[in-house]
């Protein structure tokens, strides 16, 4: 078994630590040492599941109501994409589709792959999965595009009866889904991909 122990607080690395060190204070900064994040797999899976659940109302409920000359129009994410496409703005439609529908789904699928690999252990694709993990962490901060768009329009388009924009409950669900997938990514321990696997997280204190 890998005997290297790394302190998350002061970055001290103990190259050959006895197993008892797991859960005891760091000799340098006294932060609690963990060989792996405790319950990383469970925590990450729980957040991912919550994010998946929140994606359902995020896509079913309307996210925005735009009011132009008294004609109100309420859109969900998908109907907004279709409306943009019909209006000939297929470039913007593509951006919204990728940022708001494709990316959250791909993130959840990737998390599923990580969980599977960490559970089974010794995945032949661990190198690729580690790279995918770095990418998923990077893309996380860009997924709030829709939320920012709605927030911006709500603030900027305020012309009384002529034109106005209101947020709808779906945008809250969408923000929650994005946030939860970010939590899921952050609480996953990518080192689990390189471990022997099988319940390695339940061996925590």
């Amino acid at each position: 078994m890998d005997r290297t122990l790394h302190c998350h607080a002061c970055q001290l690395t103990l190259p050959d630590a006895a197993p008892e060190y797991d859960g005891s204070p760091c000799p340098r900064c006294h932060a609690t040492l963990h060989r792996r994040f405790p319950h990383a797999l469970q925590r990450s899976a729980a957040f991912a599941l919550a994010g998946l659940i929140m994606l359902v109302p995020a896509n079913l409920l309307p996210v925005i109501t735009s009011n132009l000359f008294g004609a109100a129009q309420t859109n969900t994410i998908m109907s907004g994409v279709l409306a943009l496409y019909r209006d000939g703005l297929w470039g913007i439609a593509l951006i919204v589709f990728v940022a708001s529908i494709a990316v959250p789904l791909l993130k959840l699928v990737s998390l599923g792959l990580f969980f599977h690999a960490a559970w089974r252990g010794n995945s032949p694709h661990r190198r690729g999965l580690t790279r995918l993990y770095a990418f998923v962490r990077f893309i996380g901060r860009w997924s709030m595009l829709d939320v920012f768009l709605v927030a911006f329009l709500t603030g900027a388009v305020r012309f009384g009866t002529l034109a106005s924009v209101h947020p709808e409950p779906g945008v809250i669900a969408f923000a929650a889904a994005v946030l939860l997938t970010v939590f899921a990514t952050e609480s996953f321990d990518s080192r689990l991909l390189w471990d022997e696997g099988a319940n390695s997280d339940s061996a925590a204190p």
């Binding site: 469970q42 957040f47 994010g51 659940i53 929140m54 000359f69 669900a173």
Partner: protein
């Protein structure tokens, strides 16, 4: 004393508290979806002769000036003689889906007695509804060809019928005055059943409907009254509005009883006021709906707008 029990070591797989998160997410998500679907009332189908200006997801159904539903789909009837419009009602408007509700399309209309539906120039047509008096729940309706003339259904005052020899320039929406205060308007008119006169229907607004008693006198106050005498000329007209659209005035005698006339009571319309009538000053308590003075526009709401 008994000997201490042998301790039993139970190794439990601990379930981290984090699993509360998906549970909460599930509850919140389910609640959001349930609440959203509960916001919707039933769907109804309205049959229009002409669907001009009705657009799916854009045209709204309005009642009392508020959107209470929106058009989901516009389709041609299979028989090609009408247009079927599917309307999603709001949850609190579910009661509108009753068999005696009336639906009609509002388009801009400009006439002597006012401009109606001007906002539809910008927003496109909209559908208006007037609820009935609790008919059976229904799903399909046939739209009226044009806005209905108001009938006595709610707290909108009372209507009375005036019998006149000739119409005398009274148009729908013409004002009705009491002491030169506008208290109502002319709704409609038609020939008497055997063509020996004209029947004019008025509506007196609350609370002024209390002023009409069985012995009240009505006269045509429209047009101008020009008198040229030895000492000069006198021109009288109630208002510019009655000059253009015609008008009716009424008075109630001092000797009147206590009870206001019933809804739909019939009166005779005189061509002009008797001098006597103008002197009548009975004391009749008015239960004002709102305290204070008339503010401009308050009494002048466009007469036929059912949303008023």
């Amino acid at each position: 004393m008994t000997k201490p029990a042998t301790p039993v070591v139970v190794r439990r797989r601990s379930l981290p508290l984090v699993w509360v998160v998906p549970l909460v997410a599930f509850i919140v998500g389910a609640w959001m979806i349930v609440r959203n679907s509960r916001d919707h009332g039933p769907e109804i189908i309205i049959r229009f002769q002409n669907g001009g200006g009705i657009e799916a997801n854009k045209t709204t159904l309005e009642y009392k000036g508020v959107a209470v539903g929106s058009v989901r789909e516009v389709a041609l009837a299979p028989s090609l003689d009408s247009v079927l419009v599917r309307v999603q009602l709001a949850k609190d408007a579910a009661e509108l889906a009753r068999s005696d509700s009336q639906f009609w399309l509002v388009r801009p209309e400009i006439g002597f007695s006012g401009i109606r539906g001007l906002d539809t120039l910008l927003t496109g047509a909209r559908i208006q509804v007037r609820p009935g008096n609790g008919g059976e729940p229904a799903k399909e309706f046939i739209a009226l060809r044009r806005a209905p003339l108001l009938e006595s259904n709610t707290d909108r005052g009372r209507s009375f019928i005036l019998r006149a020899d000739r119409l005398g320039g009274l148009t729908p929406g013409a004002p009705v005055y009491f002491r030169e205060v506008k208290v109502g308007f002319v709704e409609t008119h038609r020939l008497a059943p055997n063509a020996d006169g004209v029947l004019v229907r008025l509506r007196i607004r609350k609370p002024y409907d209390q002023l009409v008693h069985a012995d009240s006198k009505f006269w045509n106050s429209g047009g101008v009254n020009v008198k040229i005498g030895l000492f000069g000329a006198e021109i009288r007209s109630n208002s510019l509005e009655s000059f253009v659209a015609g008008g009716v005035a009424f008075a109630t005698p001092d000797t009147t009883g206590a009870d206001p006339a019933a809804d739909g009571a019939e009166f005779t319309l005189a061509d002009e006021a008797d001098k006597e009538w103008l002197k009548w000053k009975p004391k009749m308590p008015i239960k004002e709906a709102t305290e204070g003075w008339e503010t401009p526009g308050q009494a002048e709401n466009s007469p036929n707008d059912p949303g008023a």
